[in-house]
């Protein structure tokens, strides 16, 4: 496990270091999608280099990308200082869309080009090499030092824009966007757009939710980035999931947990201050949700009802109650047959794999027999699944009236009473 994950983990650490800090600025300025726009502008630069006859991985292509990024940075710095009647986010969105479309037009002529350009934006954190991590660490170290040196004017522009506007700090703004563009383009190449965006925005958001001081936000963001990187990488290994997507979803889950915890704390606070009546809003929402699920079950018994599936799988008696005396043994037998069949199928497939890999010898005839046996076993398992599904549908037809309607009625009545009480008080 370690041999696959330690280089990605180091890469995540490097990303956390610089992106959390830049994310604070991005969030304070309200230019959330500027990273996507700059990455796309760099990709357009590479597409133009490709059109001019340079290979995509060449040094010339890199300088093209850098030049385009700097031009983009200049544009963003300018569009901020002028008091324009449109929000800067509009300009960022337009730059993103137009440069993405222009890149498509530029590489349209060459069938080999478009696939490679696409790969510039879909890096994969899992396959990052130690050399790439070193280069990034050096580059980001230098940029970090630069930002430490110019922290005063840049922080002022981000967190106190009115004062900054009076002192004409436009050049510092350009330096900010230029270095930011350099960081984002380099990161996107190895980690992909989604991951870079998450490292930039989520830690800064959580930091802003929890504390007001810049140092505090930075500390929270770094701790979060470290924890989520570790959790995401281990989770991706343990649950056998794609790494980048797992880290991004871990970020999202963590943010949701923090938001829920903050909401719960606010609720507890208001219960203490104003008594149980402040829970009424929550009660109405829960009742309405219960009523709605009941109504859906009554109206569309054959649709997907995941909550009921989940209940039935953890407590099978919930379904058994709704089956007739004749159906119950069928359900039990099919379940057992399905478990047996699935195990057998797994064993046979493992055997087939061994034959393919050459770790088990088998004659041609045996191999063919194995293939046919697998196919017929598969059909039987599919048949058992179908029986269970039919039984479930029959149960649902009965649950519709005995479960769906009562739930709908209870939920509706609860919501009605709670809202009425509120009006009365």
């Amino acid at each position: 496990m370690l041999e696959f994950l330690w280089v990605p983990f180091l890469a995540c650490l490097v990303l956390t270091g610089i992106h959390v800090y830049l994310g604070l600025h991005v969030l304070a300025r309200g230019v959330i999608f500027v990273d996507l726009a700059l990455a796309q502008v760099a990709a357009l630069g590479i597409a133009v280099a490709f059109l001019a006859g340079h290979p995509i991985q060449s040094e010339a292509a890199y300088w093209y990308a850098l030049a385009f990024t700097l031009a983009g940075a200049g544009l963003f710095a300018l569009s901020r200082t002028r008091r324009a009647p449109v929000p800067q986010e509009a300009i960022i969105g337009i730059v993103y869309a137009v440069s993405a479309a222009a890149a498509v037009l530029v590489v349209d002529r060459s069938p080999q080009g478009s696939e490679h350009i696409k790969q510039l934006l879909v890096g994969s954190i899992l396959t990052v090499t130690p050399a790439e991590v070193w280069t990034l660490a050096l580059l980001y170290g230098a940029i970090g030092a630069l930002h430490w040196a110019i922290r005063k004017p840049v922080l002022e522009i981000s967190f106190n824009p009115d004062a900054a506007a009076r002192r004409a700090l436009g050049w510092w703004d350009f330096v900010f966007y230029a270095s930011f563009g350099l960081v984002v383009t380099s990161s996107v190449r190895i980690a992909g757009v989604l991951l870079v965006f998450s490292y930039l925005i989520v830690p800064a958001t959580v930091g802003a939710l929890l504390t007001r001081s810049i140092v505090g936000r930075l500390a929270v963001g770094w701790a979060l980035g470290l924890g989520v990187s570790l959790g995401g990488l281990v989770g991706s290994y343990a649950l056998d999931l794609p790494t980048g997507a797992t880290i991004v979803v871990t970020f999202g889950t963590f943010l949701a947990v923090v938001a829920l915890a903050l909401a719960a704390r606010a609720l507890v606070g208001s219960v203490r201050a104003r008594g149980v009546s402040s829970l009424r809003g929550l009660g109405v929402a829960v009742s309405a949700l219960v009523g709605l699920t009941g109504l859906l079950l009554a109206a569309f018994p054959r649709a997907d009802h995941h909550w009921l599936d989940w209940l039935e799988s953890s407590a099978p008696s919930i379904q058994r109650v709704f089956l007739t005396a004749g159906e119950r043994p069928v359900s039990r037998q099919s379940r057992e047959a399905l478990a047996r069949g699935a195990a057998e199928l797994e064993r046979l497939r493992a055997m087939q794999q061994e034959v393919q890999w050459g770790t088990r010898q088998m004659s041609q005839e045996q191999e063919e027999r194995l293939r046919q046996f697998l196919a017929s076993r598969g059909e039987i398992v599919a048949g058992d699944r179908m029986v269970l599904r039919t039984l479930r549908d029959k149960a649902r037809e009965r649950q519709r009236w005995w479960l769906g309607l009562p739930l709908a009625a209870a939920g509706g009545a609860g919501a009605f009473l709670l809202t009425r009480r509120r009006r009365a008080t």
């Binding site: 879909v122 899992l126 396959t127 393919q356």
Partner: protein, 315 residues
């Protein structure tokens, strides 16, 4: 604009009159080459072999593309509307074609019409287990069998047969020309297949890992055994656990060959190759996917050359 409209009408007119290949198709000859639209560059190459100068062929999709991201241009739509014949790979290889056909909205391009040719009908498909059975093995892409059948050169015999029949139905006057072209092509094909088979003979039974499941037909023809795919679902990167298991297994069982494609992620290919000790080789899946692979036979020349070089070095 009026000119374009007239062209459309002109091109469509004989089609209405010639459902059974009647006299209207004879007038086709007088008007120059039969216009054919294919969905892939490989089919374009094969139609050109059979039709030579009697056909004008265009492929809707470029050589290397993602099947879900093909964007057809307005000019291509017009040429499809004017075309006498649409040739497609079939199965679920062209998910984008349904929308294109809906916007062209021409009843000629449907199953059963002489203007529509689905070459998969001529082929014995691989990996065509029933969808129901495969459904519980997880997501899989090729529900109707693996569609990369043009990568077995012997299948070109069946495909060109179907193409020659379709062209002859639309232009009966050229039937002999098409048959003679096809015979010449098959002669070259047979000689080449013999040469390729000989070149690959020392490596029969070699086990290989592929990045995408595009090579079962190619492998069966030349005696390679494909044991696993790095990215079973295109576009979804493999998880670290499956990558670790795969490379460990490759090292353990001595699998020395990794077959990639130009669109495969270079970082992923490098990583699997380094960790497993296998040699990676980039094969071209379609005519035009590489400057060297200019026509159908050249496609296999390039692939066999790259493969034998890699196999010789991997030994």
């Amino acid at each position: 604009m009026l000119g374009a409209l007239a062209l459309v009408l002109l091109a469509a007119a004989p089609a209405w009159g010639s459902q059974e290949g009647g006299p209207a198709s004879l007038s086709q000859q007088a008007r120059g080459p039969l216009s054919v639209v294919t969905t892939s560059t490989d089919l374009k190459a094969l139609v050109e072999e059979v039709g030579s100068d009697r056909v004008a062929v265009e492929s809707l999709a470029p050589a290397l593309h993602e099947p879900h991201a093909v964007e057809v241009k307005p000019g291509q739509l017009r040429r499809l509307k004017e075309a006498q014949l649409l040739v497609r790979i079939g199965l679920d290889h062209e998910p984008w074609l349904a929308r294109v056909l809906r916007s062209v909205n021409d009843p000629r391009f449907g199953p059963g019409s002489p203007h529509y040719l689905d070459t998969s009908k001529a082929i014995e498909l691989l990996q065509a287990e029933t969808p129901r059975v495969r459904a519980d093995r997880g997501v899989h892409v090729h529900g109707f069998g693996n569609p990369h059948y043009w990568l077995d050169p012997v299948n070109a015999r069946l495909v060109t047969g179907a193409i020659a029949d379709a062209l002859s139905r639309l232009a009966p006057g050229n039937r002999e020309v098409f048959a003679a072209n096809r015979a010449r092509f098959l002669e070259r094909l047979d000689a080449s297949v013999k040469r390729w088979t000989e070149a690959m003979a020392p490596y029969r039974g070699t086990r290989a890992v592929v990045v995408h499941e595009s090579w079962p037909y190619f492998a069966r023809r030349f005696g390679l055994i494909i044991v696993a795919a790095v990215e079973p679902t295109p576009g979804v990167p493999p998880s670290p656990a499956s990558l670790a298991a795969l490379t460990a297994k490759m090292r353990e069982t001595g699998v020395k060959l990794l077959i990639a494609e130009p669109s495969s992620s270079a970082a992923l290919v490098n990583q699997v190759a380094t960790r497993s000790g296998a040699r990676s080789v980039t094969l071209i899946p379609s005519v035009g996917g590489d400057p060297e692979a200019g026509d159908y036979l050249a496609l296999f020349d390039v692939n066999v050359k790259r493969l034998t070089r890699a196999l010789a070095e991997a030994r």
